[in-house]
Subunit: 147 residues, 2 copies
Amino acid sequence: MKDLIKHEYFIRKALEEAHKASEKGEVPVGVVIVIDNKIIARAHNLTQTLNDVTAHAEILAITSASNFLNGKYLKDCTMYVTLEPCVMCAGALYWSQIKQLVFCAFDFKRGYSQHGNLLHPKTNVISGICETESSTLLKEFFRSKRK
Amino acid sequence: MKDLIKHEYFIRKALEEAHKASEKGEVPVGVVIVIDNKIIARAHNLTQTLNDVTAHAEILAITSASNFLNGKYLKDCTMYVTLEPCVMCAGALYWSQIKQLVFCAFDFKRGYSQHGNLLHPKTNVISGICETESSTLLKEFFRSKRK
C-alpha cells in the first residue's frame, strides 16, 4: 500500500510532464526518474519541437539522470512514465540497467512488450498506475488533432 | 556492382568514424548517413565520453541528420554503420523511417535481429560489407581492453 501511494505520487509528476507536452502540441508522454525517493530527472516528449525522432521523454530523461549522477548506469533508479515505452526507449533502458520501470498504460501498437521482454533482466516492471488518466490524456490529444 | 562500390565507399567512411571511437577508448562503432550520395551526418560511439548509454553512434547521427534536413524523417537516407544496430538504435531507425540500412558485421549478442525485425517495413537492409575490417577492429579493441 505504501509503495502504491509512492508510485502514484511519482506517476502524477510524470503526468504533469505529459500535460506540458500536450500544451506544446507534442504527443503527451511524460517521465520522471527517481532515486531514494527524490526526482533527479524530468522530461516530456519533444520530437516535434526538436525535429528529432529520438527525443522521446524517456531518452531525454535517461540523458538528464546520467548527467545528474555523473554515471551512465541507473541501477538504483526508477523510471515513472505515462505510457509503455517503445522499442527504442526499452533498448535505452536495457543499457541503463535501470532498477525499476513503472508505467500507466500499455501501448498495444508500439509498446516494447509486443516484441517480448527487451528490458534488462534486473529491471522490475509495474504497470497500470493511473492508467485511465494517461489514456484519457492521449485520447483527448489525438481527438483534438483530428479536428 | 556499382552499388557495391558505393556501399563500400561509405562503409569505409563509417569505419573511419569507428577508428576515432577506438582512439578515445570507446567501443569502435561508426556511422555515416547519406542522401543523394552525400554524407549529411557522421558520428561515432560516445557512451563513455558523454557518460550516457543513449550516445550510440546511430542515435547521434540520426539527431545530426534530422538537424541538417530540418525534418525528423530520413525517408530518402541510407545509414552506413560498422556493426548491426542494437534494439535501441533499431527502434530509433524505425521512427525515422530510414530508406536503407547498410552494416558490416552482425552482432549475435546485442543486434536487433535477435528480436525479429524491429525496423520499419520500408527499410531495405544490406549486411556484410567490409565485415572483416569491422570485426577485426572490434576484436582488437576488446583484446587491448583485457590486457
